[in-house]
Symmetry: C3
Subunit: 382 residues, 3 copies
């Protein structure tokens, strides 16, 4: 069954959309609910949020904020974080160019925030144009929102959005963003397709800014990644290079340490990145492919809970430098006319020692192939 919630071309906008298992017209194996809400007040006036509950899995997504995933919960494990930004900010109230291009920070509080697609990374000038922090896509409302629920095994539930990044003379990007849940699985999947509808090749960049706070993040929590090459993002990160994978308690004044990682994958490029708690009995494993997303930014922002206690595991085509620095690194890919690029991410909820240990063993197996190279200096002096 397919349910169209929003479609700008077809003139569809079901602002009070709500669907329960009993509305499906067939037996669905687990509890099910999808609810569309429009928020009011503050900067969230008019912002849309969809809450999708499939069995023990709950996801909240904001179509207004580029199909960003606000948080995910499976059983009693929440993925997400507590940002100082409390509201689901309607991009109508955003001004990305603020204060030299950091306006993006006024809306940033998602579990999954996409940074792209014309550019990503730090603000600054590139080729005579001012690029604002982390691109625009997270602040573009979805033009299409669609829910589909399969009526036969595996009963896949898919929430899809199309977010257009279009600017005359600059880009004609359409991005289909699919979020899949299979009843009974402790996972959800993101399958994004970037399509260049123009007739010129265009540069593009994408970083999946995936952010995790409590309860996974705590003193002694560990990030496990199979590392081919590790380097500090900047001078500040050099201090923390030796303890990059271990998470401290919330630390006033810590601000952030950022690390550039070139991960290892298997022969197909498949890899994973892991965050687990101190007791190693809860964690999240993020699975993706290095052919799609060759580099990983580790964003260690273990500041106070009030200012943001959060760690980011951010696979991308690119690091977090301004685009002008990344061409020389080979991290500004191009997409030809009519071409598309797929990006697949799976988030596994690890709910006990065994699941954590198994994921760590996978990382170890990938790492066994090659030892890590650690660079003492940043790739880019900026």
């Amino acid at each position: 069954m397919e349910y169209l919630i929003t479609d700008t071309r077809a003139g569809v906008s079901r602002r009070d959309f709500s669907l329960k298992a009993t509305d499906l017209g067939f037996d669905f194996p687990v509890d099910f609910e999808c609810r569309h809400q429009i928020l009011h007040g503050g900067k969230q006036e008019g912002a849309e949020v969809i809450t999708l509950r499939v069995g023990g899995m709950t996801l909240t997504v904001s179509p207004t904020r580029g199909m960003g995933v606000l948080y995910a919960q499976y059983a009693d494990l929440r993925l997400g974080w507590d940002s100082p930004v409390k509201e689901v900010v309607n991009p109508a109230y955003m001004e990305l160019g603020k204060q030299g291009g950091i306006g993006w920070l006024e809306g940033f509080n998602e579990l999954v925030a996409r940074c792209g697609y014309q550019w990503t990374g730090h603000p600054g000038e590139d080729q005579g144009e001012m690029l604002t922090l982390h691109g625009q896509i997270q602040n573009i409302p979805a033009s299409v929102v669609r829910l589909s629920v399969e009526s036969a095994p595996p009963y896949r539930v898919r929430l899809s959005g199309r977010v257009d990044e279009r600017c005359f003379k600059r880009c004609e990007f359409e991005v289909w963003m699919h979020l899949d849940i299979l009843p009974g699985e402790a996972s959800f999947r993101i399958s994004d397709e970037l399509i260049n509808r123009g007739s010129s090749a265009r540069e593009y960049q994408i970083i999946y800014h995936n952010n995790f706070g409590v309860p996974l993040l705590e003193q002694g929590a560990e990030v496990c990644v199979p590392v081919k090459q590790l380097s500090p993002f900047n001078e500040r990160a050099k201090e923390g290079l030796n303890t990059w994978s271990t998470m401290p308690a919330p630390t006033a004044g810590f601000d952030e340490e950022v690390f550039n990682i070139r991960p290892l994958g298997d022969s197909e490029g498949d890899t994973l990145a892991l965050l687990r708690n101190a007791a190693a009995d809860k964690g999240v494993a993020m699975r993706y492919n290095l052919n799609q997303l060759p580099v990983l930014t580790l964003w260690k922002n273990t500041d106070t809970p009030e200012q943001g206690y959060v760690v980011g595991l951010e696979p991308g085509t690119s690091f977090a430098y301004n685009r002008r620095y990344q061409r020389d690194l080979g991290l500004v890919p191009s997409i030809g006319a009519g071409e598309s690029r797929l990006f697949n991410l799976q988030f596994d909820f690890l709910q006990d020692h065994a699941a954590v240990a198994a994921a760590e063993a996978e990382v170890a197996a990938l790492q066994a192939a090659q030892s890590s190279e650690v660079l003492a200096e940043p790739l880019v002096a900026c």
Copy 2:
């Protein structure tokens, strides 16, 4: 009969306004319908569109986008174009200052886009202030929207909007924008009145960015303008100077060639500019007055359909250079306190050989008075 659809001072907002011939209370000679819609989804969330149908003529106008005319159709001839920007972008989602001042391009898809009134033209600094591309008026929602329908011949239908460009210390402009249709005529008229409500004289600029794509635009289509002086806008346009008036097929990588034209008019200043298809059996003639709009920008953007196959015939007070370059050209006029300026444009749908030939003959007659001066170099080196 007069119908008030929106009036901010009077507190009127008839968001579901709809009017049919049978609602008029008198016999109207042709089919008639006016429908007000509010769009949803994507960046068009909340954008208003009015569709006005009078006999065979259909116009769509967006009050939210400064009364811009999205497209016009008479019988089977459509005026307008297919921009990579697909939605009617609510200015709430615009940020004109983006990427060095080109945010305007994220909303640009109209048949008639007004560029003004504090400034127009390319982005850049003038007198210590950053001016964004093509001014602000197209991204200011109308404060008043009014429909009037005459109950006696000629049964003129007028859709009026008032768009205010007001900024403390900078300008107190009110612009009345009237769109007129006479039943049975293959034409529509724009009558704009810019009023300076302040008590200081102010500089102003306006370009009518009128844009035409298929079906008129095609390989072999011709632009006919009585030319007093022609010059390339910049280096890029020098290459195309000899073929300025002939339209190529969609051409990947063509991007754009822009030409500055000082047109010829009759003794009253009346003139016309024409675009006709290759077979010379369909076209549009734009009639206006050189005392109001002394210069014409020809914007030849015959790129691919995906990226924008479009030609602009753009009468204005000014060329498309940044304002700082146009004072020396005498193209930054001033409007005194309490004064108003009128701008009248008529768009004629030319539907057969005879109509096209007659309009071409008019151009030829104006041209007969004086031969064209062609400058090899741009007026401005920028």
Copy 3:
């Protein structure tokens, strides 16, 4: 009795809120009405306005514009002014960075406009970031709006809003803004509380941009302030230094003269600033405390009615210079983690000779303690 009108966290949004004395459920000593409206059309599309009437006092407040007070009226005396900006501009249509950072001017028409809290003052760069004119708070919609009406003497009516200025990595400010009316009093009070919810100390600034036009402002109207030190804001103001306190008739081309004042207060820091008409039989006295708001900007903008005939009495932590100039003046205070700062302002309507004379006598008494120092040169050369 407490009435929640908006609360983003609780999901409350009573968009059609209306309350009359007869709805209160108890005897209220004077006429009472509170009405919430959503405006439509132009740039005020979606803007909220609350009109609060308590006996002879009427206040209008826009939650959408940071709880700014549009105007106040007691009996037949209006406080407020007539800006060229006519609409209650929804911040969705604002772009503060426009034209080098003066976008704020496109929405400015309030009686009380708060300028803060990360910064205030003129646009320009400070510590590598572009600061726009007068900060952001006036263009942030309130996240909580609440009305409370006491059921026993003194029957205080309080309209409260919480406006959050939050930006990841930059600030975690919450500001509670309370507006109090006591039935029968010719006064209203503002009690604001700035709370730093972050865990780092932050710089902050606030100017209460209180603006008065006709009928108080007229030729011969006087500003009375107990002055410790007076200086011209800039070169322009030097010309008017000798006549700083006397208001001229509307004067074409006057633009503005701005004066920096360090006022005198009593032993508790309490002080007042007064504007009275030429006949000295009508006026407003603004009472506040110098420990909270140590400096006062006098903004003499006695230009034409069309462009803005208005005078500002603006107590603040800071003058109107860009923040980068004010650290050396000791006017960029800091607020520690978890701390709060209170700002109290009382506006008294002076309705006859006696009331004006009494307030003038208070000013004179404060001035008696010390003579004014007048500096011929601006504090800052900029």
